[in-house]
């Protein structure tokens, strides 16, 4: 039994093996992009609002308000990053119920990649907000002695993000496989239903935690300590 889709090689391009994680990720990307293009193809600013447009606007504005509540400032481009994280993870987890589809998020490589993306995004948003010098100063607060601990804290955040998402998704898949062998038919269906719920919750948690980390980086000095204490 393969615990990670990384081990499943679908095909190779110029000698580079394309495993199930990457392939399924492309599928997810295609689905998301296709659906987005389908939904927004007639979505012009001059067109009168319809039911679809209003629903999408409500969802996007809900995400914006959620981010605003956390960061206490206009979300700007942060909404693109966080929404993409949420949609990608949620779509991956929801497609897990499709037979034969291995969720990319069940791969530690994918969750590591997402965690690394968050780890890279945090200083990028922090620097864009405070400048390089101002951002680096945050590692010396409240005193320079805390520099190693702040660095460890930053790294541990990414690690915890990656392990949490990977553990939840992979454990759901593993449990489904085990139950399928023990009691085929009933329990796997039940676990798949629970998997849908936990998948959405994990996507929400990952996106919220990424927002919190980034907001801590872009927050003012007085707010920074509070944000870190909250995490």
């Amino acid at each position: 039994m393969e615990l990670t889709p990384d081990a499943i090689v679908i095909f190779s391009i110029w000698g580079i093996p394309i495993n199930a994680t990457i392939f399924n990720t492309w599928i997810v990307m295609a689905v998301l992009t296709g659906l987005s293009a389908l939904i927004t193809r007639n979505l012009r600013p001059s067109a009168p609002p319809n039911r679809w447009r209003t629903t999408l606007e409500v969802i996007v504005q809900g995400i914006q308000h959620q981010i605003e509540e956390i960061t206490r400032r206009p979300p700007g481009s942060l909404v693109h990053f966080v929404s993409t994280l949420f949609l990608f993870i949620a779509t991956c987890n929801l497609l897990e119920v499709v037979p034969g589809f291995d969720a990319p998020t069940a791969s530690l490589s994918t969750t590591t990649a997402l965690a690394l993306s968050v780890l890279i995004a945090v200083p990028m948003f922090g620097i864009s907000r405070r400048g390089l010098r101002g951002y680096l100063k945050t590692y010396l607060k409240p005193s320079p002695i805390m520099l190693p601990f702040n660095i460890i804290g930053e790294i541990s955040r990414g690690v915890s993000l990656a392990i949490r998402l990977y553990g939840n998704i992979m454990s759901g898949a593993v449990i489904a496989v085990i139950l399928l062998s023990v009691a085929p038919f009933f329990f796997p269906v039940l676990m798949d239903l629970l998997g849908l719920l936990t998948g959405l919750i994990q996507a929400y948690i990952f996106a919220i935690l990424a927002t919190v980390y980034i907001s801590a980086a872009i927050a003012d000095s007085g707010e920074t300590q509070n944000e870190k204490e909250q995490t």
């Binding site: 994680t21 492309w26 927004t40 609002p49 447009r53 996007v60 693109h80 990649a113």
Partner: protein, 253 residues
């Protein structure tokens, strides 16, 4: 559990590509739509606010015009009221003046009528009085009265001497007519007195029962009367003349 770093790099690339794709096909159209909607709402609110301000300004202008109109109307009403009062006072004054004038005319006319009535009444009274006197005297008259009148006429012959002489000139006979026959003594005395005034006069005594009591001297077409009728006619003329003179004096006063 292992990490395939090649897969990690690929997934990071995939994520970035997905980020761009979703931004291109999902976020931008929706956010642009929201921004356009917000801008449209903002524009409409601004337009509504501007229209509201215009409406308020228009309302204020109309209220000012209405107030001015009401003031003008009040002024016009006041002017009209004053004009009406002035016109009414003028009409009342004119009416009073006309009433006073008509009253004065009426009073004058009334006074004239009153005076005319009094005069007529007085004259009528005088005539009635004379008529009654004539009737009483006629009823009470007898030979004695006629003789007394004749005797009185004899006494008055001398003052009328010139008149009698003109009457008896050309030796015309004088006819002396009475209502009843005179006594001989009285006839002789009358004849003597006439002959004293006109020595050659011839006296003829006559009796006319239709004549009023008294004495009438006739010579030709000329005559001199001392009858009761002549006395009363003279009395009536005198009374009416006196009444008219009295009335004229009262009017002058």
């Amino acid at each position: 559990m292992s990490i395939d770093w090649l897969t990690v790099a690929a997934q990071i690339a995939n994520f970035l590509v997905l980020l761009w794709l979703l931004k291109r096909f999902l976020y931008r159209p929706i956010l642009d739509g929201i921004d356009a909607r917000e801008q449209e709402i903002s524009d409409r609110m601004s337009e509504a606010h501007r229209l509201m301000e215009d409406a308020r300004a228009t309302i204020s202008a109309y209220e000012a015009k209405l107030s001015e109109l009401e003031n003008s109307q009040a002024r016009m009403a006041e002017d009209l009221r004053r004009e009406a009062v002035r016109e009414r006072d003028a009409l009342i004054a004119e009416a009073r003046h006309r009433i006073d004038r008509e009253r004065s005319d009426f009073e004058s006319h009334l006074m004239v009528e009153k005076e005319r009535f009094i005069r007529q009444l007085s004259e009528t009274g005088a005539r009635v009085l004379v008529h009654l006197t004539r009737k009483v005297l006629s009823d009470l008259a007898n030979e004695t009265l006629e003789e007394r009148i004749a005797a009185q006429a004899v006494k008055r012959l001398e003052p009328m001497a010139d008149e009698i002489r003109r009457l008896v000139r050309d030796d015309r006979p004088v006819t002396i007519t009475t209502h009843a026959a005179l006594t001989d003594d009285l006839k002789r005395k009358i004849a003597d007195d006439l002959q004293k005034l006109a020595p050659d006069v011839q006296c003829i005594f006559d009796v006319d029962p239709n004549q009023s009591i008294g004495l009438v001297l006739r010579a030709g077409a000329t005559s001199i009367e001392w009858t009761l009728e002549s006395y009363l006619s003279e009395l009536e003329a005198m009374m009416i003349e006196n009444l008219r003179q009295a009335q004229a004096g009262k009017t002058v006063q």
